[in-house]
Amino acid sequence: MWLWFSKLGSPKWFYELSGKWLPWLIATMILFLVIGATWALLYVPQDYQQGLTNRIMYVHVPVASLSLSFFPLMAVAGTITLVWKMKLADMVVKVAAPLGAWFTALALASGSIWGVDTWGTWWIWDGRLTSLLLQLFLLLGIISLRSALEDSDAAARACALLSIVGCINVVVIKYSVDWWNTLHQPGTTFGMSSDQPNGPEFWIPLLIMGIAVALFFTVSLILATRNEILERERRSQWVQELVQE
């Protein structure tokens, strides 16, 4: 187990392993994305109230739920960076921040498009929206701290620390804005039979889209990490050999 852990920390090992996985991951992602998107856009029945607008759910829900996973991910990777000084973990913290910012921005944008039709407003200072907006600000803060610190080692640890502090803060912000103002719907529980609300004809495409977006997230994270590995290890022998080929 420990061997596996330290092996995983080696950028070279990760690069080679992820290189083997990537084609499969990308293929699965495209498959799920095509099926999910076609189903969601063309075949999901219209909602009895929202009509076609409802279909933005198939983008918004997967993206928004994934964007909540960035801070925990970065906090875990940051802890590993601080405690074990694993370079790979720092690379994950580094590439996850901009990716998280994009996901959060997309969640906000898709939610806002949905909101204009259902709530009657593009933006509202609701608990979930506000906490997601503040999460975006915190991520942007981490990105700008990284770019401001010249020393890569100091930047790695500073961002790791800020990710951990930020993760705690996202939780506190979430609770504080929740009792501040709430409009967003609660989470939906899905029914198993098609003659109930939230039947399979709604949630199966959502599940497929969820898997597709999660795969997209994984693939982007791996690709960005691979980029970062090449960038940082550009002077090492194995990267030189790779370039030669």
Partner: protein, 155 residues
């Protein structure tokens, strides 16, 4: 015990004590009414003071919607299927506003028990149904619980 061990233990205890007291305070705060979000029943029972700025959440009662011909004034009742509170509002309602739909209104309760809303927002519920299913459910006399707004804001 070595002195530095004792010191470290001291810090840990200090921090743990601080954190546990703060958790206790949060639990206490949760037991207090701090968010001023009321259900129609709470308003009907007079829990909200007159003139106090609150938010009320409930469903628009079927058949209660009336609007003026020449102005934006509307009147409807909001209900949690136990009690209803009449709401008076002047302004543009959101597209999703319709009878049987969940809403959140901000405003004050006046002396006659009418809620003077300064803002009405449609709260779309967490249930999705195709139009056919909805029709089938209605035909079968579905209970309102299926699309009842949760009485408390999510937390």
């Amino acid at each position: 015990m070595k002195p530095h061990r004792r010191k470290r233990l001291g810090i840990i205890l200090f921090i743990a004590a601080g954190l546990s007291v703060s958790v206790g305070l949060i639990l206490y705060a949760m037991s207090q009414n701090i968010d001023l979000f009321y259900t129609p029943t709470q308003v009907a029972e007079g829990e909200a003071e007159v003139g106090q700025r609150i938010r009320i959440g409930g469903m628009v009662k079927e058949g209660s919607y009336e609007s003026a011909e020449d102005s934006l004034q509307v009147r409807f009742e909001t209900t949690d299927y136990v009690n209803s509170v009449p709401i008076y509002f002047e302004g543009i309602l959101p597209d999703l506003f319709r009878e049987g739909q969940g809403i959140v209104a901000e405003g004050t309760v006046d002396a006659e028990g009418i809620f003077q809303a300064s803002r009405v927002l449609a709260k779309h519920d967490e249930n999705y149904m195709s139009q056919e299913v909805k029709a089938a459910l209605d035909a079968a006399g579905a209970t309102p619980e299926n699309h009842q707004l949760s009485p408390q804001p999510e937390s």
